[in-house]
Symmetry: C2
Subunit: 214 residues, 2 copies
């Protein structure tokens, strides 16, 4: 893990998972090496940008050959901390929460949702996509016993701040927030706000433009 | 709908859904008006940025009072085309596809997933979260008959390009691509690439930084 992480720009970090997917794809095609230019062409980025992004890893490309795909893949995963599995709790087993519990792509990113929590007592003890739902008041004890640091927050918007407060009090250090446009947490806690509608907004506007200008 | 949409920067478009959520929240608190400064403070943006973003709508804030919340909310939805419902098809009813079918938050964004399609004949005729799964070869006919323009692509990565080709041939104009880091489409078709791991990457890196520097 790099020491001066703050120097890495957010857009670079956001592109790293995409590089992982591209490398996996190229590996499937039987390639062993890939150049920054190839990756750039494939993704519609500039080679300079790709080279800059990949410099978060210590991997050096070989002149005229490029990067060794497996090595670069490992290095990016290691930079992201995805080479070891992190256990997380999901809070809010409603529509979106259940959807995320059913999504088995997270292990690829080193994230394992160990259990779910909900305020609704009728959900207690149920299994959703193989994950047990616990009552919310079991959370502090289980966070503590299992040493959980990350929570995925998928409660209804009105419950978001209260739940976030409970998570922080229980010892959670990172909140992946799908619940609300904004939650307030103390300085030692990281919040990543997620809004699936952002991509849809871009698609809607671009599509309207295409359909208007034939 | 604005004519010169290309002049609106992508980060602005990506923030619009967040403004919608903030306005809804403020409306619930009983507020009728909100200033750009209030929104900026709430989201950790600058007032200048918020004012610039909101200028995509024709709504003028009143001096010292700000924007009428309902009016601004309607105007942003109208800019995004979310004031009318758009029907879409989902292609690929696996883990992620089923998850998205179970997410009932899309109607808020004017998107209704009318049906799902899958290449697996064993899924044909099944209902997933109330949506019927059709065989992939029914797609062209149904796209045509229902006038569908948008597809949500959630097939396995290896099937992404072939499916995208089929969608384009059937008349789909916008693809919300969760399937692969990259698909190639003709000029008249819009692709929005989605990768849920991007937010997780940012959270992972920020959290590692916090935990390293106590």
């Amino acid at each position: 893990m790099l020491k001066k992480i703050t120097t890495v720009p957010l857009p670079t970090i956001r592109r790293l998972p995409t590089y992982l997917r591209v490398l996996e794809e190229m590996r499937k095609w039987g390639k062993e090496y890939v150049s920054a230019t190839d990756i750039a062409d494939y993704l519609g980025l500039t080679p300079i940008q790709v080279r800059k992004d990949l410099a978060v890893t210590p991997i050096q490309g070989k002149p005229k050959i490029g990067f060794e795909i497996n090595e670069l893949h490992r290095a990016i995963r290691s930079f992201l901390g995805w080479d070891k599995t992190t256990e997380a709790f999901l809070v809010g087993a409603g529509s979106l929460g259940s959807a995320l519990l059913g999504y088995n792509g997270f292990d690829e990113y080193g994230l394992n949702i160990a259990a779910a929590f909900d305020a609704n007592p009728r959900l207690e003890g149920m299994e959703i996509h193989g994950k047990t739902v616990f009552s919310l008041d079991k959370l502090p004890d289980l966070v503590n016993r299992m040493g959980i640091r990350i929570a995925v927050l998928t409660v209804p918007r009105d419950a978001a701040q209260e739940c976030a407060d409970q998570l922080v009090a229980a010892g959670i250090k990172g909140i992946w927030n799908f619940a609300s446009p904004h939650i307030t947490v103390p300085a030692g806690v990281v919040v990543q706000n997620e809004n699936i509608a952002q991509g849809l907004a871009v698609l809607s506007v671009k599509l309207a433009e295409k359909l208007e200008v034939p």
